[in-house]
């Protein structure tokens, strides 16, 4: 009798991280959920794969979609026993954004977060002459800024 190896040996934790790094953030699709820093842990509990996920903002409507996308992606890769756990502490911080994610965000036109509390430069023309329009933007994680050189408004990823 032939055995199908794929169905009997569970994927390695490193493989799972790799798959999750291909799942796009639902609101900023150029970065992955791993880039966003919301995947806090991947581990096996017996034969059940446990993925711990932390919310960005407590009221972010994308949180439900993120969980669904994780589940869909892993099930597509053949993971059958899966549990998603909400991990509240430590609270999510933009320090957890990956360098790859920051670069992709900048390329996409969203200024990545800076510890100084404002964008370093305009993501469109690179000018450092920028001004804040509003502390809040199109999603809970962003604020609205404008470049005073090229006059383009742009999103800034809030630093928290």
């Amino acid at each position: 009798m032939e055995r199908t190896v794929a169905n009997t040996s569970p994927a390695s934790v490193a493989q799972i991280w790799d798959w999750l790094d291909k799942v796009p953030d639902p609101e900023i699709p150029v970065i992955s959920l791993v880039d966003l820093g919301v995947i806090r842990d991947v581990a096996y509990d017996g034969d059940t794969l446990v993925v711990s996920v932390t919310p960005t903002y407590s009221g972010c409507p994308a949180t439900g979609i993120i969980n669904m996308d994780i589940e869909t992606a892993l099930r597509d890769h053949g993971v059958s026993k899966l549990e998603l756990r909400r991990k509240l502490a430590p609270a999510w911080t933009t320090d957890w954004l990956s360098d790859k994610g920051r670069a992709a965000m900048q390329e996409f036109g969203i200024a990545p977060p800076q510890p100084t509390g404002g964008p370093k430069k305009c993501p469109n023309c690179g000018s450092q002459h920028v001004e804040k329009l509003s502390q809040f933007g199109s999603t809970p994680c962003k604020a609205q800024w404008r470049c005073t050189a090229c006059l383009e408004p742009f999103d800034y990823f809030k630093c928290i």
Partner: protein, 254 residues
């Protein structure tokens, strides 16, 4: 030290009802704010508050142990079961009054939440760590707006002064501690809010002085919301809006 579960549930309902009622009030601005940026800012603030509500009421429901959810507590309780302070259930008034109330509450949360991060209840500490980041962001904006409008035109100054005089008698309730607070303090779950008053007065006094506004000298405080003794007539009207779908179609889901 073990804590009385009913007392802990009361404390959690106070936290969650505050953010729920204010979150709903602020959401009433969606589509009505004076400019687009402010509309988005108010909607985002409301979203943060509702998100925090899910965590506080979720924990309250767990502690109560009756198999209820955060949604059950939000949509299926009546006025007399709500434990929010009266300040937050008042109608929005104009934009200035809404932002003045936001500031008076944000200032309180920005002082309380960092202390709750050291709570002996791990879930309270985790929720507070999450919420305090959002509260710090909120108070930055509401304080800026209060200063901008208070120290603005003659018209905006007059409206902000009127808003402060209307809302100030509701501030004292946030610090009116009772046996629930005493139990929380004894168990190391939360500080007695009365001990936060000096820090609050210093923060609020500084911002309102910069806004060229005068704090009323009368120390009278309307009370009853957080203890559950009484609410204003406004909360019932608000709940008929907020709860109507679950009341008309019980158990309905998206």
């Amino acid at each position: 030290m073990t804590v009385d579960k009913e007392m802990l549930a009361q404390f959690l309902l106070r936290m969650g009802d505050n953010t729920l009622v204010l979150g709903h009030r602020v959401s009433e601005w969606c589509g009505h704010a004076p400019i687009l940026e402010e509309d988005i800012a108010l909607a985002n603030t409301a979203l943060d508050l509702i998100g925090q509500t899910q965590l506080w009421l979720g924990h309250a429901a767990d502690v109560m142990g009756e198999g209820k959810s955060a949604d059950d507590l939000a949509f299926l309780r009546d006025v007399w079961d709500f434990r929010n302070v009266l300040l937050l259930e008042l109608p929005n008034g104009d934009f200035g009054q809404t932002l003045m109330r936001q500031f008076l509450f944000d200032a309180f949360q920005s002082i309380l939440l960092p202390r709750l991060m050291k709570s002996t209840d791990a879930e309270v500490a985790a929720i507070a760590a999450k919420a305090s980041k959002e509260a710090a962001y909120h108070v930055e904006r509401s304080a800026d707006t209060v200063v901008g409008l208070g120290d603005g035109t003659e018209e905006s100054h007059a409206r902000m002064q009127a808003a402060l005089e209307y809302l100030w008698p509701y501030v004292g309730e946030m610090f009116a501690s009772d046996e629930v607070d005493a139990a929380m303090a004894a168990a190391g779950i939360a500080p007695d809010p009365a001990t936060l008053r000096d820090e609050y007065d210093a923060l609020v006094g500084k911002v309102l002085a910069e806004a060229t506004l005068s704090i009323p000298s009368d120390g009278f405080a309307h009370k009853g919301g957080r203890s559950g003794k009484m609410h204003t007539e406004h909360l019932g009207h608000m709940l008929t809006q907020m709860q109507w779908l679950q009341r008309a179609y019980p158990g309905n889901t998206w």
